[in-house]
């Protein structure tokens, strides 16, 4: 069986502005994760260009991408991906140690409402708490871009709302450009813009006149 070339993304043209909160919606395989990977410097498009502050991420290879991730991007994963052998504070410190102008880990954790659980190991935290540690870890280096892949996917709605609040707070207080993938259409209401994906394209772009408070959401 030969390999079949699959085009994950076709003709996507997108600008993200500073402080923007964008939600990417769409069914599985519609291309939103591929876009997120490209935005996060984990992957490069085979055609077209990706510019970050006027610099093309396709130039400079692996090393350049790594520096881009290190300096400018914060990741929040669906399954948290915390280091089990490090406490909450240490998980955050892991990133601040290699960042240019980070905030202290304690401050990042306070920002996501975990100022009291600094010295707990991941195994001693609930799923929502773990995800908030992951958010603190992502934003402690004051990234220009925060990328969240299904951050509430593994959580119940109540906990999911706490996590969303943390993301919004970071977005508002630090002005971090945020892109968030979700299957959950309800969550789209907290965004400035909502991009609907289908078959590798952005099929619809919606601009929310008002962003809803996560507290008002239910799913």
């Amino acid at each position: 069986m030969g390999a079949v070339a699959v085009q994950a993304l076709r003709g996507v043209d997108l600008d993200l502005y500073e402080g923007d909160l964008v939600v990417l919606l769409g069914p599985s395989g519609s291309g939103k994760s591929t876009l997120l990977n490209i935005l996060g410097g984990l992957d490069v498009p085979t055609e077209g260009s990706v510019l970050f502050r006027d610099q093309d991420l396709r130039q400079g290879g692996e090393r350049r991408l790594n520096r881009y991730r290190r300096e400018n991007v914060g990741f929040v994963f669906q399954f948290y991906n915390l280091i089990p052998s490090l406490t909450a504070r240490e998980n955050v410190a892991l990133v601040t140690e290699i960042a240019h102008d980070p905030m202290p880990p304690e401050e990042a954790l306070t920002l996501v409402g975990l100022g009291e659980r600094l010295d707990h190991f991941p195994a001693q935290l609930s799923g929502g708490e773990q995800q908030r540690v992951a958010i603190a870890r992502a934003i402690a280096k004051r990234p220009a871009l925060l990328l969240c892949d299904e951050p509430t996917g593994a959580l119940d709605s109540q906990t999911g709302i706490l996590v969303l609040e943390a993301i919004l707070r970071v977005n508002q207080e630090l002005g971090t450009t945020t892109a968030l993938i979700t299957h959950n259409a309800v969550i789209a209401d907290v965004a400035d813009r909502v991009l609907h994906f289908g078959d590798g394209r952005i099929v619809e772009t919606r601009v929310n006149e008002t962003r809803r408070d996560p507290k008002d959401l239910a799913w």
């Binding site: 984990l42 991007v73 991906n81 052998s85 195994a123």
Partner: protein
Amino acid sequence: MSSLDRKLLRDLWRLRGQVLAIALVVASGAALLIMALTTIEALEETTDAYYERYRFAEVFAQTKRAPESMTRDIAALPGIQIAETRIVEYATLDLPDFDEPATAQLVSLPEHGPPLLNALVLRAGRLAEPGRPDEAVMSEPFAKAHGLEPGDSITAVLRGRERQLQIVGIALSPEFIYTLPPGGVMPDDRRFGVLWMGREALAAAFDLNESFNNVTLTLMRGTNGREVVERLDALLAPYGGTGAYTRDEQLSNWFLQNEIAQQKNMAGLMPTIFLAVAAFLTNMVMARLIATERREIGLLKAFGYGNWAVGWHYVKMVAAIGGIGVVLGAGLGAWLGHWNTELYATVYHFPFLLYRPSPTSFLLASSISLGAALAGSLLTVRSAVTLPPAAAMQPPSPPTYHRSWFSRTAAAERLDEPSRMIVRRLLRWPFRAFLASTGLAMSVAVLVMALQWIDAIDYLVESFFIHGQRQDATVAFNDVKTATTIQDFGHLPGVLAVEPFRSVSARLENGHLSEREAIQGIPADATLSPIHDSDLGRIPMPPGGLVLSSKLAELLNVGVGDPVRVEILEGRRPRLSLPVVRIFETYIGKPAYMEMSALNRLMGDGRVVNGLHLAIDPAARAQLLSEIKDVPSVSAILFRRAAIDKFYETMGETMYIFVGFFIAFATTLSVGVAYNAIRIALSERARELATLRVLGFSRWEISYILLGEIGLLTWLAMPLGCLVGFTLAWYLSSAFGTELFRVPLVVTDATYGKAVLIALVSTIACAAFVRRRLDHLDLIAVLKTRE
């Protein structure tokens, strides 16, 4: 093939690197075991066959001169099967290709027919014919060393008379499988050989007509050799008997049996180390495999596979890994065994070599090796068997970490997070870390043990030959000479200094303990060959008693001040009681010393000597040698330089090859441990490391986190390995000590350094090899998948 077996094959293929690494460790253990077992088997079988076919005697005795009529009395002793008398003497040989005089032991052959005992194995030519007094059969190693063949002739000095001897045959004898020149410590086929000549020829040359000076016996089944020795001693005492001895004490046989005993010792120790590490490695790899296959195990059970089917599946996996190791080990072991046996044959001269490894050796080694691998995985396989299907379908609960005492220390505060990750993992699974570190330490230990052999031999040579002896040559006479000989030799060209000695064979006794050992009489102010203590250096000769080597004192269970009963076995054969006045340490032999003039007084002789130590001007060496060759009374000459060279030649070559093998085996060990430890760490942490890459960590930063652990374990393993290596060296030096040799316990810093370096290089190579995988981590998958 069942689906499970197909899975098994694919798993083995997928884990091939780790499978091979473990198999090689198993193979090393199995090979060492098979090598030792088959070598022992070959040596024992060859020796037994040789002794039986060529009627090697069971009791031996030397006298000054006994009438032939004694033969009947000896044969009439209870338990004697065959008694054969002969003449055994020494001669110096002048060989055209050799500027030094060589020494030959002369052994008489019956005038008619082959010897009844200690039959010769003719390798070329024929035996000496009756009535041909100038015909001689030469021992094969000596003939080979000088390129002599039947038909060649040599010049020999027999009791002062120069004779042309014609070599008519080349032979081997069960009596001379291992030969030592008189007074020598290593075989030297260029300087010492055996010549068999007609009985009448030797009787005429040594004035022993109708007499004999040597008798050998075989015994009837069930006869106590000790009793025969006592009765024989009583018979021969009036004729200058120097004490009979059994086959156990016969020089050649004694060395051979010692060698076999050492092989047995090795057979126990070395394979144990390798198989213990193999057991740990299978445990480590199977534990990880079963952990990653939790869900599959749950599924299998959910489908209706029984606990035993699941357990059997994993047992087969271990058996397959062990089996590969055993097959490799059997091949390598058989080859090594053959090689090792042949190596023995260069020092131990057999006419044939029965290397027919029996299935028993292979079966034994295989079951021990497989058993070790299976024992190692027993607990982990059990965990797979007992895993309830419902629990198996769930991911394992995440490992719980705690802030240990270590986290609260000031040092821990200063650690960066990647280092903290390394330390926490080690503290979380301390036992596993300890075993991995121990495995690496074993590799260092094996290296230290192997490399220290070279140190020990160097030290031994230095202590014994360089510091202990200052003479350039030692001349032995075939009988005692008056002290005027000292001046005579002093006037020879190139002789710078002369120092006499007197050696007297004796039996030393304390209670029921008894040892045959010559008493060396040396001058109180000896400088060329003084008493040398291996720890203290030259020690003064105290008057009035015996100075014993610690080995002899230990065998006789005596200390300073204790009396020793001494039965002199020559001359007037006085029986004396002498106090021990000092005990000293030496690595070679078990000598006893006495002040020379005191010894002469006890013997009732005047100022006599039976040998001289000489210091020689190297420039006049050739001239001196040619003169000494013509001195009739000289029975042997030993050169210190030649002894050192021969020592290295004999020990050195073999030793370097063995050290080479052990370096290879030890490297296998460290590669086996390091490769598996790193692969397992990678398998456990791939997701964690990929996450860090996503977070912006560079390849080198995550390499540090992955390899820091093995680095730390290696760092801990080094001192531990050096310590264990020292212990092994200590064990070997005490277990391998014989009456002839004690291996000194010497491990130089350079040896530790080399061992550590070799182990480090192999670990680093493994690390570099596995590290490349970090370049291909799937970063995108970690965003999406649950562990």
